[in-house]
Symmetry: C2
Amino acid sequence: MTGRLTLPTDADIIDETIRLKNLLGADALRDCDGTEMPEALLSEPVKKYATYYTTRKDNAWAMKHPEEIQQEYLISNRITARGETLRIRLMEGFHTEQLKVNTLDDPKRWWEVIDRTTGEVVPTDAWEFDEASGEVEIRTIPYHEYTVSFLAFLIWDPVHMYNFITNDWKDTPHQLTYDVRQPKTKQYVKDKLKKWCEDNPHIDVVRFTTFFHQFTLTFDDKKREKYVEWFGYSASVSPYILEQFEKWAGYKFRPEYIVDQGYHNCMFRVPSRQFLDFIEFQQIEVCALAKELVDIVHSYGKEAMMFLGDHWIGTEPYGKYFAGIGLDAVVGSVGSGVTLRMISDIKGVDYTEGRLLPYFFPDVFCEGGDPIGEARDNWRKARRALLRSPLDRIGYGGYLKLASNWPGFIDEIQNVVTQFREIHENMQGTASYVAPFKVAILNCWGSQRRWMSNQVHHAIWHRETYSAEGVLECLSGMPFEVEFISFDDVRNGIPEEIKVIINVGDAYTAFSGAENWIDEKVLTNIRRFVDQGGGFIGVGEPTAYQYQGRYFQLSDVLGVDREMCFSLSTDKYNEKNDDHFILEDIDGALDFGEGTSRVYAQGGHYQILAMDGEYSQLVVNEYGRGHSVYFAGLPYSPQNCRLLLRAIYYAAGMEQEMKRYYVTNVDTEVTVFQKTGKIAVINNSAQAQHTELYIKGKCAYVLDLKPGEMRWVDDMEDR
Amino acid sequence: MTGRLTLPTDADIIDETIRLKNLLGADALRDCDGTEMPEALLSEPVKKYATYYTTRKDNAWAMKHPEEIQQEYLISNRITARGETLRIRLMEGFHTEQLKVNTLDDPKRWWEVIDRTTGEVVPTDAWEFDEASGEVEIRTIPYHEYTVSFLAFLIWDPVHMYNFITNDWKDTPHQLTYDVRQPKTKQYVKDKLKKWCEDNPHIDVVRFTTFFHQFTLTFDDKKREKYVEWFGYSASVSPYILEQFEKWAGYKFRPEYIVDQGYHNCMFRVPSRQFLDFIEFQQIEVCALAKELVDIVHSYGKEAMMFLGDHWIGTEPYGKYFAGIGLDAVVGSVGSGVTLRMISDIKGVDYTEGRLLPYFFPDVFCEGGDPIGEARDNWRKARRALLRSPLDRIGYGGYLKLASNWPGFIDEIQNVVTQFREIHENMQGTASYVAPFKVAILNCWGSQRRWMSNQVHHAIWHRETYSAEGVLECLSGMPFEVEFISFDDVRNGIPEEIKVIINVGDAYTAFSGAENWIDEKVLTNIRRFVDQGGGFIGVGEPTAYQYQGRYFQLSDVLGVDREMCFSLSTDKYNEKNDDHFILEDIDGALDFGEGTSRVYAQGGHYQILAMDGEYSQLVVNEYGRGHSVYFAGLPYSPQNCRLLLRAIYYAAGMEQEMKRYYVTNVDTEVTVFQKTGKIAVINNSAQAQHTELYIKGKCAYVLDLKPGEMRWVDDMEDR
């Protein structure tokens, strides 16, 4: 089997590229940031991708049009006034090689000084910008704290800067950014793309990296990462755009809508109405302009592929406007099951491609690095998600030479590629079996950000988040159709196919839902849903909002609340009884990750399945004809996938359906393609595993799997 | 040495009482609940205390005047309506032997039905009480949650019920309670007290247990403790009293002021204005009426002693009206240093007496019990507080026979009594040395509740509280004058003698301060105080209130904030450097108790002294001329006393003062009585300890102390 594979190449590795292309059966080659597609390979019988930068790699243009360089809203350090005036040096803590204060547009129109002690905006006549010193002088109230929100030009593209630092580039000039949304640059970039298409007849796929606005990536004065938000819109602004926004929205723009108290509208913040307006406006404009570029590419008979990353801001692949771009493909980085589903679930393109890890960069391919281990872990997490929702292609990025020289690494990816092709071979484009009901993740973002919730910067591990994000990682490879619904969806009536709603996250975040939980419409609709037989699963601080005697507003549904010190005088009498359907497969300790402390069971209908001292960690509750399950945390692990699988069937009241297809060993999972009659059993662990495979509730196969193995068997229902 | 000691006695232990009185040098005998003072002992040459119950032990009276039986505001279970009507059974979850719904007073006037989903009061025409079933029927909105707040008669005194259950009494009739505040009972109780004084000429001290209103102690339907709040006013209500309150306060009373969403104004709640009004009103009335009883006692030449516990509600010993009662003495239970200081710091009485633990009850004097260990622990914690602020007397309670029969127990208390007398002998009524500045605990209760903060029910250990309450326990035996100040005190200007302010507790509680932290007056006064050289110590979630980009509102002063998921995209770069004055004495692991997760250092002036992974646990910060210290938690331990001692001197900027008097061994402490020239060095551990004693910065003594020893040496400054 060949095909479905893209390899990177470079000028210094031509023969080896051809050898590996043949060995691995690659059908596409690509260049990367910092590498070049060699002339000699242009005639190879494979697709050639060219990385195309719309916003950089043309410093001459950028320098000629400084007013059209990209801009970012920054917020200064918070400084406490000691007296009646205060000077704040704007660039303190930022890197002056990356950012430069915008002195071209009127500060009084576009900046904002805020008294953070009161939250009040300081009138523009109470502060002045001193350009010479780069400081803003403010008339202050002593011992109040102040910030200045201001615009700065992005004089070094953040990803270029990142690659430059990571790869220790020396003489490469810093690439400036220009804003394709602005009039002169827009025309220039379109013309340039046409010319580029003409000049590059051998290129089959234009791989946009990406369109116009970089996610927020800001460096500090020591060239260290200072702030990174993969979903951030802070670097998609300019007075030119904001004036258009004001017209569209019908109200005056404020810098605070972007800097957001210094939180920069991180995804955990409950989005304000104005921020939601802004991202919608950006999507409309970005998608329309992206379509113009895609149309140019198509007019030259080439394909247009978008990289989901870098300058992807405004393209929101689950937004309303994405399909209108008319892209042929999306490619993105696969760090886990969740990030794979984020790509593979995208509609409105012909195909999707995942760039597997590790990236062939010297930070992993180095002494002490473990690229083979990373590749293996990455594949195990990706594979279970792939089986549910396949990417059409996979590929790698970086310096091919590094991979080629690392002993055993090529064998490892050969194994990955073979398994990937086997999946497509066996599924034949058909859907895998899912339970006869839908599962919904409920948060403030809903379907607009499928598989994007509860994570920081493309699902990087954070101690604060892994115990919640694990729910999504588990789900990414489970046999359920997963919807992402918003609180408005709940207000408008919970869709009928949904049988289980999951609410996961920390109190007062966009993921648990914050003030939505004191909206009686939300509460009553969910209570009715569960009372009439639905399931509700809460993880962490679900439904949390301190109000009217409860912290978890659906404590009646969940059977638990959290002790915030106000009910310490109330005796709890919580006792464990772990005899329950959910724990039937589980031996040994449960892992709730960081967990959530101080949770106790209450009401008359609960059963506590796990405790930490006097705190409850896993609790089930009956509510009318429905069921709920509470988890103190649920980091990703094979065991927790099984816990969640059982919790979902229990919550749905469908326990008897679970063994339609089932593997007894917790470290294994099963995926069934009923139309082709093929079943995959995967070993998610690094040890050999023995498992029975149940079909229609009966043991159909007894299997011994090698570490990490994927075994295919036939769907023989009537054996 | 003899004296300063009270022993309990009983009818069945007359000779042994005399033997122990002589052996231990007791100068007072007392009876207890369930025991009797034997006639034979009335002629002994000691003071005789008689426990006097103003509100119970007279069921005949109570039954004759059911309308004057004491009442409690209860809140029913929270019940979610499934349809348009709902019936709530009021007594569900309560014990019908303890409480009985008040059907004498008009429910529509005194009860409240609340929709807890919206917080709205249900109009009185939308519900009815069905006396036959004991249910309230409510016209409901489906899937809203409802509660009924109602009045119930206390038909079994809670403490009598507690003693009855704990001691497994069988045939004792349940003692009803009557309300001395009500007109008929008031007269009756006064007359009865006069008669009692006449009938009991041999009694020297009338030990009121206590006056009129029991702290809240409610049992569930299985006779288990359901709710206990030692500071609770819920059982001090009646329509008779509330109508007076309405007149005094000038507004209409609402049951919600008492039931408080079901939290019953637990001390962790930020008290509402109405609740503060209510407790002030109760203090005025209770103290005035208590004075009448005390005057009667005095008129018979007897002393009046108040037990700080049981029916102490309304006497608030640190309140404005307490001294007016004219008591001779207060006696209370000493469970720790904090509870000792709560008694020994009381002004307005001639003497204080502490009832040491354990109580001679069969729950400790039993197989598996460890009364000697309890006595020893109790004494070690009490002793260090005693040395700072001495009780005048100590005593014990319960069944003397149990203590007498337990091998070795009498030896143990003989040791305690000897040490106690040594302290008085050496201090001669003079004050011990304290640092030349004051330390303040800042919370919503301020001086009204000295040594009462951060605790549940008389400082019972709770996993949720010990890491905060430890600060007070440490302070109770430290050489600092401690003030308890409120946010109003801060608003009005921080008193000049105060050099260090401590804010300790969980977010949004009365102890950390909740919305006070978004009051610019509070913030600016504290910032100015620290900037000009003051110290600020935060423990747990100090100054917490999510607002304007910060969770800890004084993050600039503290140098730390807590990650509530909104700044996960901001890089932290926290690194430990534990080379600091505060840690100079400390070997081995630090103990932050439950700690506080997700704390990180920020700003440019911090030093991190301890971390747990990427989280900071102990951080110092410079702020202008002042200093701050942040602790993730500070449970009581000898080591943490030392940490706090050093932290306070550091925060005060007075490091050089610390070795005025100092012991090098962390498990020891030193107390100095400069006027008598006596120094006590105590070993707070159960092991032998070697320590140097510094005076004026120089080593003056080298001491080897036995386990738990208290060694007296002379204050020889010029050796």
